[in-house]
C-alpha cells in the first residue's frame, strides 16, 4: 500500500464535494457539465444520481471516482483531497480505495474474462489481500464460473457487466462507482446486476454511488440526487417520478 494512513482517515463524511465545476470546450462553445455541485456522502450509503441524458451525471461520477479532473472545487474521499493529488497519487488512491463499473463495461477486448477481472490486482498489489479467495467468492456470486476463459466478445451483455463488476470489486474497494451498470441490460439481467451490487456492498461494507436512469433503482437507494443540466439537487420519493424536461 501506499502513502495513505488508514488511521488518519476520518470516518464521516466519506465523500465530500464542494463547489465542483467541470467544463468542456466544444468547438467555440463552453459547456458546463457540472455546475457548483456540493454534497456529502456517508460511509455505507447507497446513493443514486439520476437525470436526463447529457445532464452531467456521468461526468460528476467520473470526477468523484478520480477518473477526470475538476476545473474548480474540491472532492475529498476519506479525508484525502483527491482533486489536489498528482496523477500518480490519484492512480494509487484509485487502485487502493475505489472501484468503478462503467456503463459500457470497458473490458479489454483481447483479454479473457478472468484476465480482465485480474487487471486491478496487477495494477495495485495488496500483499495482505488474498485474491484467490476473493475471485472464488466473486465468481460464485456473479455466476461466472463457466465463462471465465471467454473473451468479452463471446459473452452476453449481462455477463460482460458481471465481469466488469467483478473487476471493480476484486481489490475490495471502499467506494464503488457505477455508471449506469444496468443501462444496456434487459430487465432480468438489470435486476440481477443490481442485486449483486447491493449484496456485495453489504458483504464488503462498501459505499455505492450509482448513476442511473432507472427510477426503480432510485427507489431502493438511501439517497437520490437529481442532476439537472449541470446542477445537482436532492431528489425525494415524494417528488414526481418524471424527469424534469431537459433544457435546450
Amino acid at each position: 500500500m501506499s502513502n495513505y494512513d488508514f488511521n488518519s482517515i476520518e470516518q464521516t463524511p466519506l465523500l465530500k464535494a464542494t463547489d465542483v465545476i467541470k467544463q468542456y470546450r466544444q468547438y467555440d462553445d463552453v459547456v458546463t457539465a457540472v455546475n457548483r455541485a456540493t454534497f456529502n456522502i456517508f460511509d455505507g450509503e447507497f446513493v443514486v444520481i439520476i437525470g436526463a441524458s447529457g445532464s452531467g451525471k456521468s461526468t460528476l461520477l467520473n470526477l468523484c471516482a478520480g477518473l477526470d479532473r475538476v476545473n474548480s472545487g474540491t472532492i475529498t474521499i476519506k479525508g484525502q483531497e483527491i482533486t489536489a493529488m498528482s496523477a500518480d497519487q490519484l492512480g494509487r488512491f484509485r487502485g487502493n480505495f475505489l472501484g468503478t463499473v462503467f456503463q459500457n463495461h470497458n473490458l479489454i477486448p483481447q483479454f479473457t474474462a478472468l484476465e480482465n477481472i485480474l487487471v486491478p490486482t496487477l495494477m495495485c498489489n495488496k500483499p495482505d489481500v488474498s485474491y484467490e479467495e476473493t475471485i472464488k467468492k466473486l465468481v460464485s456470486v456473479l455466476d461466472l464460473g463457466d465463462r471465465l476463459h471467454h473473451l468479452p466478445s463471446e459473452l452476453s451483455g449481462g455477463q460482460q457487466q458481471r465481469v466488469a463488476i467483478a473487476r471493480a470489486l476484486i481489490n475490495r474497494p471502499l467506494v464503488v462507482f457505477a455508471d449506469e451498470p444496468t443501462g444496456n441490460l434487459d430487465k432480468d439481467n438489470a435486476e440481477d446486476v443490481l442485486e449483486l451490487l447491493l449484496e456485495t456492498k453489504e458483504v464488503m461494507n462498501q459505499t455505492l454511488i450509482m448513476v442511473t436512469h432507472d427510477l426503480s433503482i432510485a427507489e431502493r437507494a438511501d439517497r437520490v440526487f437529481l442532476m439537472d443540466d449541470g446542477y445537482l439537487k436532492p431528489w425525494r420519493h415524494s417528488d414526481t417520478l418524471m424527469y424534469p424536461a431537459k433544457k435546450h
Partner: protein, 801 residues
C-alpha cells in the same frame, strides 16, 4: 473454482502477463517488431563489422611487427618486437640522468599518468661515443600522453642542459601507430553505439507516440484500477523487452549474414559474437526503456476517462465540417473521393512513412557511392628509400642505380602495384643557386624571374623556383611509359653527358601554371655558389627578393646545359624541375642523388593482401644498402573500413530499409481496412454491389500507388541533392569526408537506378498492400458462404459434437 482455473490464474501472473497483451494485440505491435529488428540488426552488424576491422588491424599489427623487423639493415635480417610506443635517441649521460630523476620522482609521488614503463639502452655511435636511448610505454590515450610526456620530462631537459632538445631524436614505434589505431577504432565504435542508441530511442519514441492511440483504452483501464506512471512504464518496457527478446534470434541471423556479405567471409569469432550480442541486447534494453518514458508520461497525466472514451481516431479528420469546406458545397461527388479525403491523415502518414524508407535507401546508395569515391582516392603506396646513408662513390652509385632498377621491376612481380615513382629533388634556393634562361623562354607570367645577363653577356632571366633532380634515361623512360610524366625530346642524351657540356630535361610549370616556354636545344645556365653572403639585415619577403640578394651579394660559376627534352603538363605542385646528370648533381649537392621510390598501389586493391605482401617485398630489396620500406598510409582501420566495407555496408542497409517499405505498407493498410470493416460491411448491408466495393479498394490502391511513386521519386531526389549539397557545404568549412580527408568533393550523379527501384518498390508495395485486404475480405465472404451452404447436422449429430 476448478483446479485448472487456479493454475491458469497463477499462470497469468508470470510470463503470460506480458505475453498476453502482445499476443492479443499483435497488429498493434507489428511496427515495434520491425523497428526492433532493424535496431538490433543495425547494432549487431556494426558490432560484428567492428570486430572484423579490429581483427584485421590486429593481424596487421603482427604483420607490422615482423615486416619492420625483417627489414634488411646492412644486409642482415633482424627480428625486433616493438613493445614500447616512443623512443628518445641521443641522450647523453647527463641528460639521461636528468630524465631518469624526473621520471623517478614522478613515480615516487604517484604523478606518472602518462607512461607505464620506461627503460634505457646504451648505444655506441659510429665514432665510438656512448649515447642512450629511452624507450617509453605510454598509457591511454597515447597521443595526448605522448605530448604530455615530452612536455613534462623531455622539454625540461633544456632547462638543465640548454639546447638538449634539438639534439634529441624522438620517434614513435609501430606499436604506437597500431595501439593508437586500435584505440581510435574502439572510440569510433563507442561513438557509433551511442549514436545508434540515440537514433533507436528517437525512432522508438516516435513510433510509440504515433501508435499511442492503440494503447489508450487499455492503459486507461489500467489507470482506472490504480496504475501510475511507474506501473505503466514497467508494463510498456516489459512488453517491448519481450518483443525484443522474441525478435533477437532473427536479428542475429540477419546480422551474421549481413556481416558475411560485408566482409565477404564467415569469420565471426565466439568472443566477438557474444560481445556483439551483449551490446545489441544492452542497446535494445536502454532504447526501449528510454523510448517508453515520454509517451507513457503523457498518458499517465491524462484523465483515465479521456483515455477510455478515446476512440482510435488517428486516421480521421478532426472536424467533418472542414473537409466539406475544403471542396465546397458540391462535395462529395464520389464516395471514393469522400473516403480518401476523410482518411487523408492515414494516407499522408503512410505514404510519407513508406517514402521515408525510400529516402533512406536512396541516401544509403548515395553514401555508398561517396564512400566508393573516397576509397578510390585513398592513395596507398610503399616508399622505399636508402636510410641514413649517402653515396659519394661513383661505383657505389652505379650499384645503387642497378638496385633502383630492380625495385622498379617489383611492379611486374606484385600485380597490386600500379606504378613506381621516384623523387630525389632538391630546391635550388636551399643550395644558394639559381638558373639563367634566355628571355625567349619566359611564358607570360613575370613573377618568377629577375632580369640579368647570361655568362655570354646577353640579356637573360634568372629564376630560382626550380628543383634539381637526377634520374637516368631508363628511369625517365619508365615514368613516361607509365604516364607519370609526359616528355618531348631525346632524354637518352642525359646518360651520354660529360662534365664539360651537359644535357638537361626541364619542366615548365610552377604550381601547375606555365611559367616557362623552353624548347629542345635551348641553352640554360645553372649557378654554383662560390662565395659571398647575403647580409642578415637584407629584407627578404619572397623568392624573388632572395634571388635578387643572391645576384647582388654572392658570386657564382655557371655551367652551360642544353635542353634535350621538355616535360609537358607535369603535375608540378611546387617548383619546376631540372633533371641533370648524376655527377653534376653530386657537384651541386655534395653527394649522389638518392631517390625516395614510391610503389603506388592500385585503387581498389585488397589492402590486407597488399600489407601481407610486405615481408616478401622487403626480401626482394637489393642488398648492399640500408633500404627501408615503409607505407605511406598508416595501418588505418578507417581506411580499411572505407575501402572495403563502407560501400557494401551502406548498400546492405539501404536494401534492408527498402525492404521494410512494403512491410510498412502491408501493416498500415491491413490495420486501416480492419478499422473500416464496419464501414465496408455497412455498405454491403445497404446493398452496395461487389463491384462497388472492389472499386473502393482499387481506387485506394491507385491513389497510394501514384502518390508513393511521385513522393518516393521526389523525396529521394531531394535527399540525394541534399546529401551532396551538405557534403559540399561541410567540405568548404574543412569538415572531413567519410574517410577523414579534408575538403573532399564528390562527383554528383543522380542515382536514377536507385530512385527508380525505390519508387517502384514503394508503389508496388502500396498497391499490393491495398489489394490484399480486399482479397482477404473476398476470401472471408466466400468461406462464410460455403459454411452457410453446408448441410445442417441433425439434432443427435449436434449433440454428439
Amino acid at each position: 473454482m476448478k483446479n485448472d482455473r487456479k493454475t491458469k490464474t497463477k499462470g497469468y501472473n508470470g510470463f503470460d502477463r506480458v505475453l498476453t497483451p502482445i499476443k492479443k494485440n499483435i497488429k498493434q505491435y507489428v511496427c515495434f517488431f520491425l523497428a526492433l529488428l532493424l535496431v538490433q540488426t543495425a547494432v549487431m552488424s556494426l558490432q560484428l563489422t567492428f570486430f572484423s576491422v579490429r581483427s584485421d588491424v590486429e593481424a596487421l599489427i603482427s604483420d607490422g611487427y615482423t615486416v619492420t623487423a625483417t627489414a634488411i639493415i646492412d644486409g642482415k635480417e633482424t627480428n625486433v618486437t616493438y613493445t614500447r610506443h616512443m623512443r628518445i635517441d641521443y641522450l647523453t649521460d647527463q641528460t639521461r640522468t636528468y630524465l631518469e630523476n624526473g621520471v623517478n620522482s614522478a613515480v615516487s609521488i604517484g604523478q606518472n599518468n602518462e607512461f607505464s614503463f620506461i627503460d634505457y639502452e646504451t648505444v655506441i655511435d659510429a665514432v665510438g661515443r656512448k649515447t642512450f636511448s629511452a624507450y617509453v610505454s605510454l598509457k591511454e590515450p597515447l597521443k595526448e600522453n605522448a605530448a604530455k610526456f615530452i612536455e613534462k620530462y623531455v622539454d625540461v631537459l633544456d632547462v638543465y642542459v640548454p639546447g638538449t632538445k634539438d639534439n634529441l631524436a624522438i620517434s614513435y614505434t609501430p606499436a604506437y601507430t597500431v595501439d593508437n589505431e586500435l584505440a581510435s577504432i574502439t572510440a569510433d565504435n563507442v561513438k557509433a553505439m551511442l549514436l545508434a542508441t540515440l537514433l533507436s530511442v528517437l525512432a522508438l519514441t516516435l513510433l510509440y507516440t504515433i501508435n499511442i492511440n492503440s494503447f489508450k483504452h487499455r492503459y486507461g483501464v489500467y489507470m482506472s484500477f490504480g496504475a501510475d506512471f511507474k506501473k505503466l512504464l514497467v508494463i510498456a518496457s516489459r512488453e517491448l523487452a519481450l518483443i525484443s527478446a522474441l525478435i533477437l534470434p532473427i536479428s542475429v541471423i540477419i546480422s551474421v549474414l549481413v556481416n558475411a556479405l560485408i566482409i565477404k567471409a564467415f569469420t565471426v569469432t565466439v568472443t566477438a559474437f557474444f560481445i556483439s550480442l551483449a551490446v545489441t541486447v544492452g542497446v535494445s534494453m536502454v532504447s526501449i526503456t528510454v523510448a517508453a518514458i515520454l509517451p507513457i508520461k503523457r498518458i499517465s497525466v491524462s484523465a483515465p476517462v479521456d483515455l477510455i472514451v478515446a476512440k482510435d481516431n488517428s486516421d480521421r479528420v478532426s472536424s467533418p465540417r472542414s473537409s466539406y469546406r475544403l471542396f465546397g458545397a458540391s462535395f462529395p461527388f464520389k464516395y471514393e473521393w469522400l473516403t480518401t479525403v476523410r482518411f487523408r491523415k492515414h494516407y499522408v502518414q503512410t505514404i510519407i512513412s513508406a517514402a521515408l524508407f525510400c529516402i533512406v535507401f536512396v541516401s544509403c546508395m548515395c553514401l555508398s557511392d561517396m564512400s566508393r569515391q573516397d576509397a578510390d582516392t585513398v592513395n596507398t603506396a610503399y616508399e622505399v628509400a636508402v636510410y641514413n646513408q649517402s653515396i659519394e662513390d661513383g661505383d657505389a652509385y652505379q650499384k645503387y642505380l642497378d638496385g633502383v632498377e630492380k625495385i622498379l621491376k617489383l611492379e611486374q612481380k606484385y600485380n597490386f602495384i600500379d606504378h613506381a615513382s621516384a623523387d630525389n629533388s632538391v630546391a635550388l634556393p636551399s643550395l644558394n643557386s639559381h638558373v639563367v634562361l634566355p628571355m625567349s623562354s619566359l611564358a607570360s607570367s613575370k613573377s618568377h624571374y629577375v632580369s640579368t645577363n647570361d655568362p655570354e653577356g646577353l640579356k637573360a632571366a634568372a629564376a630560382s623556383e626550380f628543383n634539381i633532380a637526377s634520374y637516368n634515361a631508363s628511369t625517365l623512360k619508365y615514368l613516361a611509359e607509365k604516364g607519370v610524366i609526359s616528355i618531348d625530346g631525346d632524354y637518352s642524351l642525359l646518360d651520354s653527358t660529360t662534365l664539360a657540356h651537359g644535357y638537361v630535361v626541364v619542366s615548365e610549370y610552377i604550381n601547375n601554371e606555365k611559367a616557362f616556354d623552353l624548347s629542345v636545344g635551348d641553352k640554360i645556365y645553372i649557378a654554383t655558389h662560390t662565395g659571398g653572403e647575403i647580409p642578415s639585415d637584407y629584407p627578404i619577403y619572397s623568392t624573388l627578393d632572395s634571388l635578387e640578394a643572391q645576384l647582388e651579394y654572392m658570386s657564382f660559376t655557371y655551367k652551360t646545359y642544353t635542353v634535350c627534352a621538355v616535360m609537358r603538363e607535369a603535375d608540378d605542385v611546387g617548383n619546376a624541375t631540372i633533371i641533370i646528370p648524376p655527377d653534376d648533381y653530386k657537384n651541386l649537392c655534395g653527394s649522389y642523388p638518392i631517390a625516395t621510390l614510391k610503389l603506388n598501389v592500385k585503387n581498389g586493391s585488397d589492402l590486407l593482401e597488399v600489407y601481407s605482401a610486405r615481408t616478401d617485398m622487403v626480401r626482394d630489396l637489393p642488398a648492399g644498402f640500408n633500404w627501408r620500406l615503409t607505407d605511406s598510409t598508416d595501418y588505418s582501420g578507417g581506411v580499411l573500413l572505407t575501402s572495403r566495407r563502407l560501400p557494401t555496408l551502406f548498400t546492405v542497409f539501404g536494401i534492408i530499409m527498402l525492404l521494410l517499405s512494403p512491410l510498412v505498407w502491408i501493416c498500415a493498410q491491413t490495420v486501416f481496412y480492419k478499422k473500416r470493416e464496419t464501414e465496408i460491411n455497412t455498405l454491403i448491408a445497404l446493398g452496395s454491389p461487389k463491384s462497388r466495393i472492389k472499386r473502393l479498394y482499387t481506387f485506394g490502391a491507385c491513389i497510394v500507388t501514384v502518390c508513393a511513386l511521385i513522393l518516393s521519386f521526389a523525396f529521394g531526389t531531394l535527399a540525394c541533392l541534399g546529401l551532396y549539397a551538405a557534403s559540399e557545404a561541410l567540405s568548404a568549412y574543412g569538415f572531413a569526408s567519410l574517410t577523414g580527408a579534408k575538403n573532399a568533393s564528390y562527383d554528383f550523379a543522380v542515382p536514377w537506378l536507385a530512385l527508380t527501384v525505390s519508387a517502384t518498390v514503394s508503389a508496388l508495395g502500396g498497391f499490393v498492400a491495398t489489394v490484399l485486404p480486399y482479397a482477404e475480405l473476398e476470401y472471408t465472404r466466400n468461406k462464410n458462404q460455403v459454411k452457410h451452404m453446408s448441410p445442417i447436422p441433425k439434432k443427435n449429430e449436434r449433440e454428439e459434437k
